[in-house]
Symmetry: C2
Subunit: 445 residues, 2 copies
Amino acid sequence: MEWVLTGRSVVTFDEKNSVIKRGALVVEDGKIVDLGKKDIILRRYPRYERIDVPRGIILPGFVNTHTHAAMTLLRGYADDLPLHEWLEEKIFPLEARLTEGDVYVGAKLAAAESIQAGVTTLNSMYHFMNGEARAFEETGIRAVIGHVCFSWRKEEDIRETKKLFEKWHGREGRIRVSVDPHAPYTVDPEYMKELHALAEDMQEKYGERQVIVHTHLAETEREFGLVKEKYGEHPAVKESSSVVEYLEKLGVLSEKVVAAHCVWVDERDVQILAGKRVKVVHNPVSNLKLGSGISPLRKLLKAGVTVALGTDGACSNNTLDMLETAKFASLLAKGISRDPTSLPATKVGRMLTVEGAKALMWDDEIGSLEVGKDADVIVLDFSRPGGIPLYDEFSHLVYVARSTDVKYVFVKGKLLLEEGKLLTLDLDELEREVNKTVERLLSAL
Amino acid sequence: MEWVLTGRSVVTFDEKNSVIKRGALVVEDGKIVDLGKKDIILRRYPRYERIDVPRGIILPGFVNTHTHAAMTLLRGYADDLPLHEWLEEKIFPLEARLTEGDVYVGAKLAAAESIQAGVTTLNSMYHFMNGEARAFEETGIRAVIGHVCFSWRKEEDIRETKKLFEKWHGREGRIRVSVDPHAPYTVDPEYMKELHALAEDMQEKYGERQVIVHTHLAETEREFGLVKEKYGEHPAVKESSSVVEYLEKLGVLSEKVVAAHCVWVDERDVQILAGKRVKVVHNPVSNLKLGSGISPLRKLLKAGVTVALGTDGACSNNTLDMLETAKFASLLAKGISRDPTSLPATKVGRMLTVEGAKALMWDDEIGSLEVGKDADVIVLDFSRPGGIPLYDEFSHLVYVARSTDVKYVFVKGKLLLEEGKLLTLDLDELEREVNKTVERLLSAL
């Protein structure tokens, strides 16, 4: 289907951060085929289907670069508890009961929430990822999925990961598979190397589509202590003074690595991450909520690290709302540095979009509005009182926009959200499925 | 008019933080006359007008305890700039052009945004407050209004303040007037005392309705330095080592004082504020965005200070969204203390409502859902995918709720928002007025 979208402006997030006032964008066969001034575009494509949002801002879809999609099922199940009690007494017992069917339901809920909030790509690590993949295929969202790998279930992990690649990698050009070692303290050194080698193998086997390695890194202060406790005999651990240094010595840091959190990194770690071109995902809401600490964002950015944004799972957030995450990221950086010029909206907007695409090594196809890229496009409408007046698009995007301002969402040229209504799933049915699942999970406790 | 509201639960914010599951609340003649289990209430009041929100949570309206309402006109006009440049080069020149008519338009916009976001009471300090008062009277929101006072315009300030009292204090039982010294560095010591005496006079003159003193306090690190520079010869300044101590020595701290910010307060200041029963308004979004610093909230609360929440003006936020402010407050406290149990949702919910009412000395009439109080009541509906499942009302309120989940708003028993639609103003007309005003302000620059 062919579309012309017109709005107050088109914010491209191309290299120049160009904004086209009174702009329009043309979608054809899943791609962006043209963009420019509205009056010129309309003359050029008179017969295309039209979406006109006079107060609208047309943007690339947001990239949620770190989440555990199906954890929406546990949204708000346990809060305000000490980390240990939260995880061990609340989250793990419920998670242990999840089936692939539950994960499918949770991931559909995540996809629904995400699409409504302008998120067109999810990078999700969890269990029973076949369930998530089915949900993403059906709902039309773009995703990178990875089976979370732990030392205690190596064989199963590798089998599952390979199965995911076989079945899903490249599906519809919008689902990719990643290799996901959980974290340095739950994946032993040799297994860590094995998983990185697996990623290389998969890359070779599946050709041009990028294979990334999605992991948690330096989330809590005690992480390296745990690594030393468990794997202290390994030379790479022995010779290191931080978890980042340890992974470097292990030889597993590369541009393929998407490292969530990086809260506890010192100057030297930052240099290592930059040198190895590791991608960092900042999850400010989750880091604050769990009391993990605050990532040294300015240092990472200054060192040239690609930093993207993530919500983390709904369990520690408790939303998948990337606009909220963007505001937290910007304001936290300003507040901590006591410098209101830190992390300006022009930069945070890029982190929501094109930097996320770069982190996933998918920026050849998504992340910005440029001719030839896939049409992952959203339109925000600022017509509510809280959305006017509008002086500057970037400021509005980061400091004012609400997920509910998102009115239209396309992924790969397919319309998924129209006037705020989801087109690819039945919300009443979804709610019934979610309630049924939650009831079963709780009843078994 | 008489109403029965039913929902999934009624969250009262009474002293016990009671939650009535499958609850209902009865509104009559502007008051809450009954509340309890839905089935009982429905039998008791069969003929009352009904509002049924099966997934709804019924709550007291939120109290925005520090804002400058009309600054909505400058929402996003200037961001990401150094404080000095932002204020002196951007905000002040535009503000200098404002008329009472503009303030009226800006305050209507603030009221519209606030009502839509479940805020039923605003505490606003600004210029041309007759304009704000008119806007609040028309739109139906509850408000405390104060004319901002500076040393450089004493006579005008006192005249204006007295006029406001005469015209507006007590109007419709929902508009009150306060005395508003701007800040310790812009109001000289003798004038500060004079304004506090004025508040006492007004209290005496206008009887039972409480008169508060609304001011900024300890917002930035340099504040006491400025005070010393300007008023260093005054004995109260000379003998003090902080701005709080100085005001204590001046004899102007009391339970009437609503002090916005209190970012730069040390242990001793906290004890003074607690001892004098000063009310503190925490404005986390504004404090972060301007890089002012982070208020030691846990210390203030531990010392027993009444702490409420505010958005500050839309210029430094850039919204008047109290739900966003609540999430920032809770998460920032957790993140800074690195303790996920800090400032739990049960407490933050109170800060949004009853603590705000206490700060304004209005908790005899508003702030909680109790029989005999005014019916300032809101209903949130969590039907969107991002709002399910719902395990716990408090958690949902602070970590999940969006201003757009607010579907019904009553102030003093009058319905102002119905199914998300504003009943007391025409949004298209408001938008035209706002755009016209902004155009005029900008064209004159």
